[in-house]
């Protein structure tokens, strides 16, 4: 509107431009956004939640799971190409999608429109939460690739404050909801589930899965918080190699 107003009221307002048939690359980028949400980001979320739930089998089981994961061959490359880059792309393009949408849920307070809105807000929320979570658990503090046995202690320290538990609970709900509903969106957009009834079913299933995963996450948080606090081992603090060890090969783990 602003651009038309400044041209001295002579040019007519143009409105929404017609389809740029067959030109541009947004199809590829948008569908890539959709795909990365499921594979690998969604898949990683599932792995992460299930690995976290190892705490239900005890502190040793949890630390053992961290040892297994951090000991995977090509761990750093798996992280970069399997998690960080796809996650960053999904998040950045997601913000771009959110920014370009013209939310009208106030005028059209309909179920699907609420879910559309929620998908955008949970996305932004999860972006902020994951950035924070990565900072505190992956990029700062005692590094778990060097001290897998510090894992339970590190999580318990992170969750020491009730406010932090709330942050993690909200982050959990937002992430799981976004993934669950995102599964339905993927199925609808890629033409896997097309029928009206089938889409309603897929929507319910997606949301149910999201809530189920949230429950799993909350039980995991509860288990961390309620079990006896782990002692801090002074050995973990010893500056064998400093924090810039992000690039160190996984083999440095005992």
């Amino acid at each position: 509107m602003a651009s038309t107003a400044q041209s001295a009221n002579t040019a007519l307002p143009k409105g929404v431009s017609p389809l740029r048939a067959g030109t541009g690359t947004s199809f590829l980028w948008r569908r890539l956004h959709s795909l990365t949400g499921i594979v690998p980001v969604g898949l990683f979320l599932l792995e992460h939640l299930i690995s976290n739930a190892e705490i239900l089998n005890g502190a040793n089981a949890y630390n053992g799971q961290v040892k297994f994961l951090t000991g995977l061959p090509f761990r750093l490359w798996l992280e970069i190409f399997g998690i960080f880059l796809p996650l960053l792309y999904h998040a950045a393009y997601g913000v771009y999608i959110w920014w370009r949408g013209e939310n009208n849920v106030i005028d059209y307070a309909l179920k699907g429109n609420w879910f559309y809105t929620l998908q955008r807000y949970t996305g932004v929320l999860v972006f902020a939460y994951v950035a924070f979570h990565l900072w505190t658990m992956r990029f700062t503090g005692i590094h778990l690739t060097e001290h897998y046995d510090a894992s339970v202690w590190k999580v318990q320290t992170e969750l020491a404050h009730p406010l932090m538990i709330a942050v993690y609970a909200v982050g959990m709900l937002a992430a799981c909801w976004h993934f669950g509903y995102g599964l339905f969106l993927f199925a609808a957009k890629w033409g896997i589930v097309t029928g009206e009834k089938a889409q309603k079913r897929a929507q319910v299933l997606g949301i149910a899965l999201g809530l189920l995963l949230t429950l799993l996450g909350l039980v995991t948080i509860y288990s961390f918080v309620t079990r006896p606090a782990q002692e801090k081992n002074p050995l973990w603090e010893q500056p064998v190699q400093e924090q810039s060890q992000l690039m160190a090969p996984a083999a440095t783990v005992r």
Binding site: L19, F27, G101, I192
Partner: protein, 249 residues
Amino acid sequence: MANKTVQFKIKRQDGPNSQPYWDEFEIPYRLGLNVISLFMEVALNPVTREGKQTTPVNYDSNCLEEVCGSCAMLINGKARMACSALVDNLEQPIQIEPFSKFPVVRDLQVDRSVLFENLKAVQAWVPIDGTYDLGSGPRVLPQVQEQAYRLSQCMSCSCCMEACPQFNESTGFVGAATIAQARLFNMHPTGKVLKEERLAALMGDGGIQECGYAQNCVEVCPKEIPLTKSISDVGGQVMKKAVLDFFRV
């Protein structure tokens, strides 16, 4: 009952670049009034509620039975047809506005030519023009006819586009109606010949990928066209094309 009235206000605009303003009206109630008949009352006696002389309201309309798609506008904030909006079912004062995402021509009349451009872009027709008689076309199975019939009811009212959060100036999204028409002509045995071109068009910028499944389109569609089903169906068609193109072109 004798003194019962209908109160309504109309967002008006004298020309494409002039400032919009509101006119409030109050007319005697009659049984069975619809929103179009309110405009007719105003045309008979163009005086606002405050007694100010004004002009008849400018609006598009034609069939007055919800099949032509002309009289689409925002009634109490929702995109719908004025002819089928019955006063008895509306909360008063009825608020009537032109569509917000299309350039206003005057008052409630907007320029919806973007839909026509979009339909042309996806070649929403069956190509039969030629230099000789092609004879009768292939048979269409009744099951296909049933599906096609629902899609063929689209009257280009543009309600689906107006209600869509993704249809705006930054995305330039094509909108549900055009995608449903692409599906209609893709399922026609003769129209199918342009299927690949239609899908390629819909994969351009502003194409089918911009859909965010807010599903407002299917809720506001006056003809109850299965728009989300159509978007998913064509979504599958374009994915199939994208994958095949990747391996075979």
